[in-house]
Symmetry: C2
Subunit: 443 residues, 2 copies
């Protein structure tokens, strides 16, 4: 048994029945509860009992009649679902995705402050710029704005949001019933932001929340994405197919964070892993092949087309991935497209084989094995400079998330790699993140 | 004792410590819990135990360092707070305000569907167009758009939202694990809306919610507001100073609803009443004068200036209300401004007296008296064609909301005017509102 001061961070990426695209068809999946809050509540409470740092909800602002024909809808909008989860849990962090491309900073900053109050300091925001035309088409546009333009808007969106969170100094609220002074008006600031995309006066209409601002999370892995993350992100979700790639990414990002004058320890990097767990090898193989049988390749092809922004629905399954636009020209999900092309080439996969490889986690690292094997892998990545923790993405929630909690987490705890009790109350405390300085407060 | 088939609807307008502007300073007010979810939860649970139809949250998308100096902030953004309340209550309706001027319909329609799922069919949306420059200045504008333009946008916003709620037919979700069919794609529709303000493809990325759409509530009382309400609203909040005005408004709106080809019974009209309750007359007078003593007239003047869109902060308190722009020129909160001018003239008030009259409910009808007197008044308005129910706005939540529940509601129940048990589960059922037809479904 080993003891480490440095503990890994574990986030549960909540995805209704699981991350495998056929998970909703899995015999044990309680798919009839897809729209029941209680189902999500119980999953999150389990994650909290296991002392996980946080849960995470992804988001996408469109769907189509075709993609719901064979694919389960992810119901619930993240900020509403997280608000509900906030008041039935006590410790676990609550991270939700909201796009900077189709929202206004005043509304978003405010909803996250509201969530931070409701949860007593457990809010996190996964900042995305969105990447598909079909999303843009729900917001008065024909096409998704160019990648660089989206990140430019995202940067200004963040600058405005941070000013708004800072607009109430920590001790601005006086709340003196006798004198009748509610707030020290010298400590409540107009921000008077005027930029290329936004003009916002402020102050925010909600005072400084328990964490001052939500933990800022980011998942873009392209060049623009990495630069954005190095400037703003306090935690980074990323999809990495190999230890070598993960380590290279880890080093690059930490380096860039340092170059930007920030402390690299204050940016936690969490690669996604999509486990299929079994107590024996036979069990694992059975689960894996059962999931594979339940796949619908028409659906998988459409999902892939959507993800990489190129229509592949008439491509041949038994041939290699057709040639795609060069990466410089891709305006959608840049880094994920790159990862997928590389994976297909490295492993010399037919399109069908590629679809099977992607089904379990859309490009995230899939680990298939016994609890021991999974713990070994996490330990190796964690101790050898590839990760500060992991984004746990069970391919099927039931029973794999249970197995992860019952068998993998205790193993990690035994090895001294993961907490056995919460030592703090806020998401910042779980992740070991400081409260950032307020730009309006003199020190 | 009397028995009526027709029961009144009672909504609690939740406002932290109460609707009186000095309520946060009232000795019994638990103002230290202003930011604690538990405080709101307990109020709402009380309203539910009393079998009230719904609770309501107002909203405003700006504040200023001046207005929070003496005035308590209303924390929490409505859709997040209602989502949290949804999962700790079972029956009571949850109505929240969101502006059509600073949001996108796809986001708003989706959040209300999400809330409707979280609450199992108890969501309501109070549709506002916002009315102040200071709000516009948080959303890239210098001034609030003109009244008529705002209502034009609001109409299109609603058309889009309704199409989005209809975009999933009731039985579109198949969820057949064996066949692998999740949804009947013929029953999931693109809406392909192209209008003056919005271009939205659809479908919504959340299926048809328990109520199909939230109950649509509206509170504009101007000509444009009434026309909008007659087209879309299923419940109308309104501020009326006298029985005669309330009755005239009631008749006019129901008439207009009929002219628009809708059933007037399917539009519930709920004037606001701001009670101060005491078991004896002496008690009431004491509460009233205590509240008056706690007022800060600088603050009151600023609030009034903000509400009517004219700076009165240097006006003399002992003189009548200064001349204001003619009502046709007012682009902000038109109907409320009109009401305030009429009130000052009718009662021949000095500015100070006007501020005192407005302090308890900003222009809503204030009733001050014993439970008996309050029940009499509600009964009279209800039985004589001025109201389908009431928007209860206690001037101080503690203890007046308790008194309302403990003494007024039982009196109304004894008279057969209010339910003693919930007879349904959804907000539509409480209000007696049908589920509207889906424009994409053939009958
Ligand atoms: C764990 C994880 C979660 C993500 N969640 C979302 C999401 O919810 N919505 C979305 O549009 N993209 C999501 N992405 C995709 C990335 O954000 C994607 O890479 C990005 O949209 C494109 O930026 P890039 O070109 O900088 O990589 C996620 C990625 C990762 C690794
Ligand atoms: C009970 C009630 C609640 C209201 N809530 C809000 C609100 O939350 N936010 C807001 O800006 N206006 C609110 N209003 C103000 C009206 O919506 C106001 O009349 C409207 O903004 C201006 O439209 P009008 O000129 O058609 O009256 C409310 C009015 C009433 C009667």
């Amino acid at each position: 048994m080993n003891n480490h001061d440095r503990k890994m961070h574990l986030n549960l990426f909540l995805a209704s029945m699981g991350h495998h695209e056929a998970s909703w068809r899995y015999p044990d999946a309680p798919t009839e509860h897809l729209f029941n809050f209680t189902y999500y509540k119980e999953l999150v409470k389990k994650a909290e009992q296991a002392k996980m740092d946080s849960i995470f909800l992804a988001d996408r602002t469109s769907t189509s009649s075709k993609s719901v024909k064979y694919g389960a809808l992810t119901p619930f909008e993240p900020t509403t679902l997280l608000s509900a989860l906030a008041v039935v849990t006590e410790k676990i962090g609550l991270i939700g995705t909201v796009s900077t491309s189709f929202n206004e900073p005043y509304n978003v900053a405010r909803r996250f402050s509201s969530l931070d109050f409701l949860s007593n300091g457990r809010a996190g925001w996964n900042i995305i710029t969105s990447g598909t035309d079909s999303e843009a088409q729900n917001f008065n546009l024909d096409k998704i704005p160019d990648h660089a333009l989206r990140y430019k808007r995202a940067k200004e969106f963040l600058d405005v949001s941070i000013k708004l969170w800072d607009s109430w100094e920590d001790d601005a609220v006086i709340l003196n019933k006798e004198s009748g002074i509610f707030a020290d008006s010298r400590k409540v600031h107009e921000i008077n932001h005027k930029g290329e995309f936004f003009k916002v006066r402020g102050p925010l209409n909600i005072s400084s929340s328990p964490q001052k601002r939500p933990v800022l999370v980011q998942a873009g892995t392209s060049e623009n994405g990495k630069e954005f993350a190095a400037t703003y992100a306090e935690a980074i979700f990323t999809a990495q197919q190999t230890f070598a790639d993960a380590k290279a990414f880890y080093n690059k990002v930490k380096e860039r964070v340092k170059k930007n004058g920030r402390n690299p320890d204050q940016v936690k990097i969490l690669p996604g892993i999509c486990p299929i767990i079994g107590e024996t090898k036979e069990e694992v193989i059975e689960t894996e092949s059962k999931l594979q049988e339940l796949m619908n390749f028409d659906h998988s092809l459409m999902q892939l087309s959507n993800r990489i922004g190129t229509d592949l629905t008439s491509a041949k399954l038994d041939e290699p991935l057709p040639e795609l636009p060069v990466i410089e020209e891709i305006q959608g999900h840049k880094s994920r497209t790159e990862l997928i092309i590389e994976l297909a080439q490295r492993e010399n996969l037919t399109l069908k084989q590629l679809l099977i490889r992607l089904a379990g986690g859309r490009g995230h690292y899939t680990i298939v094995g016994t609890p021991q094997k999974i713990a070994d892998e996490l330990e190796y990545w964690f101790l050898n400079g590839a990760a500060d923790g992991f984004n746990i993405m069970p391919q099927i929630m039931n029973p794999d998330f249970d197995l992860f909690i019952r068998l993998v987490i205790p193993e990690l705890q035994k090895r001294g790699l993961f907490r056995t009790e919460y030592t703090g109350n806020t998401l910042r405390e779980h992740y070991g993140l400081a409260i950032p300085d307020n730009q309006f407060m003199s020190i």
